[in-house]
């Protein structure tokens, strides 16, 4: 029907092209102002959180292990949308009011922190014990061994799974629309609410998400190559 009407009705086609053209900039603006910064900031904070959580989980200190486990379990066991709602709509009840953007950063960072901590933990554990021992025998302390020997090798192993986390995060930022962050998807909703061209606007937003993720996968490939320089090519 839709396609049919486009081809039989040149005016309709023209209207759609007009809308597509005029909504492109606002959508792009949403991406540049919110989607991309949300992703980059949350991912950075999330990675730090994830590394600390992974270290807590492999540490020999019981209480750190338990705290880390509970954190990961809660974040993984509840929907992101619920987490964001609690942060933005729930916390004011106890006197903590967050800006939409702040709440979103907090929510996404906590989320990445939990998921990526599992990736980083597995990567650290995958480094052979002999590497720790070699570090020890040349006199390194625990933190020197981690920083110089273990984490550099673990990062290579974690690039593919962390890229997945990153790409998921790009798409998950659309949930911030629900707590009033005017990121790309919310722009699309707002424009569509005004002109009723839902299919067009949501498809347009989808296309932009896809392009961003595609560019990211190119970056991932380059990173992998860079880190693979010390591994035998098979």
């Amino acid at each position: 029907m839709y396609l049919n009407s486009i081809f039989t009705n040149p005016e309709r086609l023209e209207r759609l092209l007009d809308i597509a053209q005029s909504s492109f900039l606002p959508l792009l603006e949403g991406a540049i102002q919110y989607t991309i910064p949300l992703t980059l900031i949350s991912f950075t904070i999330g990675l730090v959180l994830a590394t600390l959580t992974a270290l807590a989980r492999i540490s020999t200190i019981k209480i750190l292990q338990i705290v880390a486990r509970i954190y990961v379990s809660i974040i993984r066991g509840t929907p992101l949308l619920v987490q964001l709602s609690i942060l933005f709509y729930g916390l004011p009840t106890v006197g903590i009011t967050l800006e939409p953007f702040t709440a979103a950063i907090l929510g996404f960072s906590l989320n990445v922190g939990a998921y990526a901590s599992e990736v980083i933990r597995a990567a650290i554990l995958s480094i052979p014990k002999g590497q720790w021992e070699a570090a020890n025998t040349i006199g390194m302390t625990y933190s020197q061994s981690l920083k110089r020997i273990i984490l550099p090798q673990a990062s290579r192993v974690s690039i593919p799974p962390l890229s997945n986390t990153f790409i998921s995060l790009v798409k998950d930022t659309s949930l911030a629309s629900f707590i009033l962050v005017t990121e790309m998807f919310r722009r699309a909703q707002e424009i569509a609410a005004f002109n009723y061209e839902f299919l067009l606007l949501y498809a347009q937003a989808g296309l932009l998400y896809w392009i961003i993720c595609f560019l990211l996968s190119l970056v991932q490939g380059r990173l992998e190559n860079r880190f693979d320089r010390y591994v035998a090519k098979t």
């Binding site: 002999g130 021992e133 390194m140 302390t141 010390y230």
Partner: protein
């Protein structure tokens, strides 16, 4: 240089070292032989505290570690600096070139200036015959070359004692010689070393003393001639028979 007193190590219920006593003079090379599972690796690892002994004392060049009480991390790190281990499977850092592997200890641990550390690492790699391979990553090196980097990495920290755990047993036969040669030169320069190896020729040519270990104890000790040509203990004889047979197959 090394004084080991009544060293014990258990893994749970399994007692692996049942009281080892040993004195090694400065500049001596001691070779440890013995059947698989007798505790040779565990013994060496205890000297570098890669395993924590359950009881006993080890003194290296005046630094005493008494294992009857728990040691602080700082004390362990300090004690470890007295010796350095060369591993059976090299355990090079795969993300660093040969040169970076050797520089790592001096730069990160001893905080030596990078230029100086580089010059020193280059000298060491030249010494082990790897002048041409300094900027290669471990995966680009043969087993024998990797092990020689391993030796240079251990030497870079100027340990008082070098510990070798079957350094040639993971190597193809034609690569064994180049590693043993480097070790022999070290011994001739007066490095104090404890070497676990079944390379009889090396033991005969280099060792000041040979220890035969079995089931967590030193069963017999003596000069290479005494142990290899005229063993007294029945178990030593059996073991030597076995490895000589394996050699001639």
């Amino acid at each position: 240089m090394i004084a080991i007193n009544n060293l014990h190590k258990s893994f749970g219920d399994l007692e692996v070292l049942k009281g080892i006593d040993l004195n090694v003079e400065k500049g001596q090379a001691v070779v440890v032989i013995g059947p698989s599972g007798s505790g040779k690796t565990t013994f060496l690892r205890c000297l570098n505290i890669l395993e924590t002994p359950t009881a006993g004392t080890v003194a290296i060049d005046g630094h005493v570690a008494d294992f009857s009480k728990p040691l602080s991390k700082k004390k362990i790190t300090e004690f470890r600096k007295q010796s350095a281990m060369v591993f059976q499977h090299y355990n090079l850092f795969p993300h660093m070139t040969a040169l970076e592997n050797v520089m790592e200890g001096p730069v990160t641990v001893q905080k030596i200036d990078k230029q100086k550390a580089r010059a020193k690492a280059e000298d060491l790699l030249v010494k082990v015959g790897l002048k041409e391979k300094m900027n290669e990553y471990p995966f680009q090196l043969s087993g024998g070359q990797q092990q020689r980097v391993g030796i240079a990495r251990a030497l870079a920290l100027e340990p008082k004692v070098m510990l070798f755990d079957e350094p040639t047993s993971a190597l193809d036969p034609e690569l064994v010689g180049e590693v043993l040669q480097v070790m022999k030169e070290l011994a001739l320069e007066g490095m104090t070393m404890v070497v676990v190896t079944h390379e009889m020729r090396f033991a005969k040519g280099v060792a000041d003393e040979v220890l035969f270990m079995d089931a967590g104890r030193i069963i017999e000790r003596g000069t290479p001639q005494e142990i290899f040509d005229n063993p007294k203990e029945e178990r030593t004889k059996q073991f030597l028979n076995l490895i000589q047979k394996a050699d001639t197959i």
